[in-house]
């Protein structure tokens, strides 16, 4: 529906993401480098088709932040073959739904269709992979749309603004410091030429993965893809710089003052991900995954149980970790204090939970519960063809490969209580902590002026 939305928080989206090894997944590669992955799922006469590009906000650098997402919007604004918005109309008339999304590590486009309409998707995606027009008039208008999107999601949402500033401080050199939607000033100074360069640089078959899941025959899909995408020329790709973080030595603190009703707290510690670990150390990422479930994997986890129900310090509190990021990431906590409690109390309570995870191994039953949920999730996630395609596309695009999801269950099952304790001790270190706090200003502008004046006097 609302196409061109962005994926913001990478928190628990892919927790428990896995699916049994099966022979119904097929992999092909065209001569121009386009990778094609087809998973047959014959439960309903539908198909989802997604094209994933290896580009996103973490490929960007200062001055052009948000460019990947703006380009994603422009991908609907016309080629030589289709006018602005025309491809969307064609998909709609074929009973289809479509959208696109940009994240830190990827940009992807998709259609959901009745199975016989798959050629419509390939016709449109193969065309705009190489033939986007990028015209001034559409760019001016679409940039305004993106700025409205930024106002909607970030400027007018105090928690979003806190998260944005948090990232800017927790990451110093890593490109994860930049917001996916881009800084407003960069958006204001973006040019059509910037976009043309960005498009030429990343939009090519050898930088893309085509994922098709549904009631299809893999060989037929391969043939169809060959006829549509086969003629496209590959591009010359230059890998992005690694931009590794220097080691952090001391707590970093950010305060965001904004009109708001409630305080809000975010805490993060640098953490490795599968991509950044040597094969023999990859267990650490799975142990961090379990650790995150210990904190907030459902209603029985420690943060809802202890901070929300027992101590009643938090109205909400959760932990998050994404083992599938392209580059080293953060192990995150966030929360809203309960009525009459402050963000300082919440921070202390979260740090006490962290200490407990470092001091004592996770209980046997607790660990068994987490694993039981992972086992069940492997079945539940097969209910959605779209979700399956998301998993495959994302894993391919960050460079891990879709087969990693087949290892998930075994790797999680192999995690021991001692390993969970070990990663908690190794990575949740005081001197590597970044804390951001939203400090509410009154919502009413008159009261705000009054309290700012008063506050000034009090300090003196």
């Amino acid at each position: 529906m609302y196409k061109r939305f962005i994926l913001l928080l990478p928190l628990l989206l892919f927790l428990g993401a896995a699916y049994g090894a099966d022979s119904a997944t097929h992999e092909f590669k065209l001569n121009n480098g386009l990778k094609i992955i087809v998973r047959e799922d014959h439960r309903a006469p539908v198909v989802v088709s997604q094209v994933w590009y290896k580009v996103g906000s973490s490929y960007e650098y200062s001055g052009i932040t948000g460019i990947s997402h703006v380009l994603e919007h422009m991908m609907f604004q016309g080629t030589r073959k289709f006018g602005p918005n025309e491809a969307s109309r064609i998909i709609s008339e074929n009973g289809g739904r479509e959208n696109a999304f940009t994240g830190r590590d990827y940009t992807a486009y998709y259609q959901q269709l009745e199975k016989s309409r798959l050629p419509v998707s390939f016709m449109i995606e193969s065309d705009r992979m190489r033939n986007l027009l990028l015209k001034e008039k559409e760019f001016e208008k679409e940039l305004k749309v993106v700025m409205e999107e930024r106002r909607l999601r970030t400027e007018d949402d105090p928690e979003s603004r806190t998260y944005e500033e948090f990232n800017g401080v927790a990451f110093q050199n890593s490109a994860y410091r930049n917001p996916v939607i881009g800084w407003m000033d960069d958006l204001e100074n973006l040019t059509l030429n910037d976009l043309k360069d960005w498009y030429r640089r990343w939009y090519a078959p050898n930088n893309a993965t085509l994922v098709v899941v549904g009631d299809v025959d893999a060989r037929e899909v391969h043939k169809l893809a060959q006829s549509h995408f086969g003629p496209l020329k590959p591009g010359k790709l230059v890998s992005p710089k690694p931009r590794r973080e220097a080691e952090q030595n001391g707590v970093r603190r950010v305060t965001v003052k904004a009109p708001a009703e409630l305080p809000y707290l975010i805490m993060g510690y640098p953490a490795p991900v599968l991509n950044s670990l040597k094969p023999e150390d990859r267990w650490e990422a799975y142990a961090l995954e379990v650790l995150s479930a210990v904190f907030s994997g459902g209603g029985s986890a420690r943060l809802p149980k202890r901070l929300v129900r027992e101590q009643q310090i938090a109205a909400n509190a959760s932990a998050g970790y994404n083992l599938y990021a392209r580059a080293p990431d953060l192990f995150l906590f966030d929360g809203t204090p309960a009525q009459g409690r402050g963000s300082m109390e919440l921070e202390q309570a979260l740090r006490a939970e962290i200490k407990r995870a470092q001091d004592e191994p996770v209980g046997t039953e607790e660990l068994a519960r987490i694993k039981a949920q992972v086992v069940a999730n492997r079945v539940y996630e097969r209910d959605s063809v779209f979700g399956q395609a998301m998993q495959i596309g994302m894993l391919e695009t960050v460079g891990l490969g879709w087969r990693v999801m087949d290892e998930y269950l075994d790797r999680i099952n192999a995690v021991t209580a001692e390993q969970v304790q070990q990663v908690a001790r190794k990575y949740l270190i005081d001197d590597r902590l970044t804390v951001a706090v939203l400090e509410p200003l009154p919502m009413d502008p008159d009261k705000r002026r009054a309290s700012a004046g008063k506050g000034g006097h009090d300090v003196r």
Binding site: Y2, R43, R89, V145, E148, D156, G299, A315, V379, R382
Partner: protein, 438 residues
Amino acid sequence: MCAKYGLLAALVFVASIAQAGPAIQHWQTQNGARVYFVPAPELPMVDVRVVFDAGSARDADKNGLAALTGAMLAEGVKTATGELNADEIAERFASLGAQFGAGADRDSASVSLRSLAEARLLQPALDLMAEVLRAPAFPAAAFERERNRMLVGLRQQEQSPGAIAGKNFYKALYADHPYAGEPGGTEQSVGRLTREDIAAFHGRYYVARNAVVAIVGALNRAQAEALAEQVAGLLPSGERAPALPAVAPQAAQTIRIPHPSTQTHILMGQTGMSRDDPDYFPLLVGNHILGGNGLVSRISNEIREKRGLSYSAYSYFAPMRVAGPYTLGLQTRNDKADEALQVLLDTLSNFVAQGPTAKELKAAKQNITGGFALRLDSNSKLLDHLALIAFYDLPLDYLDTYTQRVEQVTLAQIKDAFQRRIKPEQRVTVIVGGGAQP
């Protein structure tokens, strides 16, 4: 991620369905709950949802009651065989790999369970669900805590111009009607709720004759029958909730609410249609063209594609038990609010005066009917539709006849329905933002 996205997707999807649907089996439990079942043998899992006519429309003068009752169900149970607290309930569901959820909107309160089909996991999960429905203990300490969390949630919504606009839109549209209140209540009304209120609400409305049970999963008929008895068969029979009053139209008004946001949120509309409205299909298909089909619709084309005024501009009917709202909405930077509102008004007026073109109607029908299969392509989507058919007493062939009824809609019917139903003298406009004057 983005609430507006989820909300609209759900509404549009509920509003349009079609072709040959699944074979729905239907019966009653011995105590009078109506059961709807679709077998889905492909995956070893089971979804069950019990829906009560116990939404916030039943709050009476205690707004927030339905929502707090739903939130309190899994906070403790007390049965002849023993007691469980919130931790134990959550731990038991988790250890079985089951997913449990409860919630309330204006029309209904729903309790859902997703479990693996394996009996040693499914059976205890169902037993626990049944106890949560039948014998919640509503512990006093948990009550205080959950009520406080609701109050925190209400304050959080005050940060969001979109949430403020939505609340005030309903309030203005429904005045004294039970739909006027928010399911989440107000700080004042929630502050006054008591544990006794909740126990009484549960006793009155969480009864078999006021419930429907929707089941989708790897079960045969006999297993589904046993499941329905297991989950709902021990509820008291009770009585169905009485019919809701009809909605009285309100006079036109414009409400401006200042908010320190960079954007102004605009909601405009009037009361719309019920689930059994005789104009249902002409209004549905007509609105699909006007503002219900994402970026391909007229409103989005005028506001976003032509002028870049908003990220999302849309219109939708929310069909409910009695007339739900007809809403047109957008958000734009404060200094563009007047311009955007004018374009929105012009687009609506023009559509009402002229109706759609033949080309637009054909394209809309192709979209709705051609995408029918997508609406039923997972167990969770099947369950959503099944629960909808069950709760609103729609015919069992509702999905089978849907595309046909969409195909039958004519240009004249759409024009006629919009001209009869869209009334400027009943139009409510809510404008929230920094551009708004007090």
